[in-house]
Symmetry: C2
Subunit: 116 residues, 2 copies
Amino acid sequence: MSNYTKTTRQEGARVVLHDSLSLTGAEISVNTLPAGGSVPFIHAHKANEEIYFITKGRGKAVVDGDEIPLEKGDWVRIAPAGRRQFFAAADSDLSYVCIQVRAGSLGDYSAADALV
Amino acid sequence: MSNYTKTTRQEGARVVLHDSLSLTGAEISVNTLPAGGSVPFIHAHKANEEIYFITKGRGKAVVDGDEIPLEKGDWVRIAPAGRRQFFAAADSDLSYVCIQVRAGSLGDYSAADALV
């Protein structure tokens, strides 16, 4: 079996990558909230850390009641227990990648895990 | 302790996020290869799956000798054993995010891991 998989994401569409890329260590979603919009619920996780990468636009996250302003280029890590909700700005879409991984699962990495 | 961490990446700089974001389930790097440039070595991994997200430009990956054309919006997963090397096109930079996670580490995810 091939050691790689590839997919291309069309701009603007919500995409989840776990199945299409045969991921085994992460789920990744690519998302856009329209101006004035939000994820319609607050959520936390049992076991998974989430890492958000803002790829376009502006908005905010609310984590445990704290407001975190967000714009293109920002990265945010949220521990499983953090109660989170994401909002686009009133006058700007907010596009982001959400990477979900098991908290504490990473062992060695980079040079310590590499075979060159 | 807070359930979140945030950082902002300046365009063009190489950044590794594990320490600055206190990641526990991934290492993430943000990279740009200049036009005509490449990662100067082929590598594989012992335990980690890598997921690459092309954020700008064009280039290619070579995995186990196969050429994979890359452009903005592409996602590629590479199994630990895949022998990989990345190249920018002769006439274009290649910017990408590399997400490193332990292969097989994800348990439940999304709704099955969520607390709403």
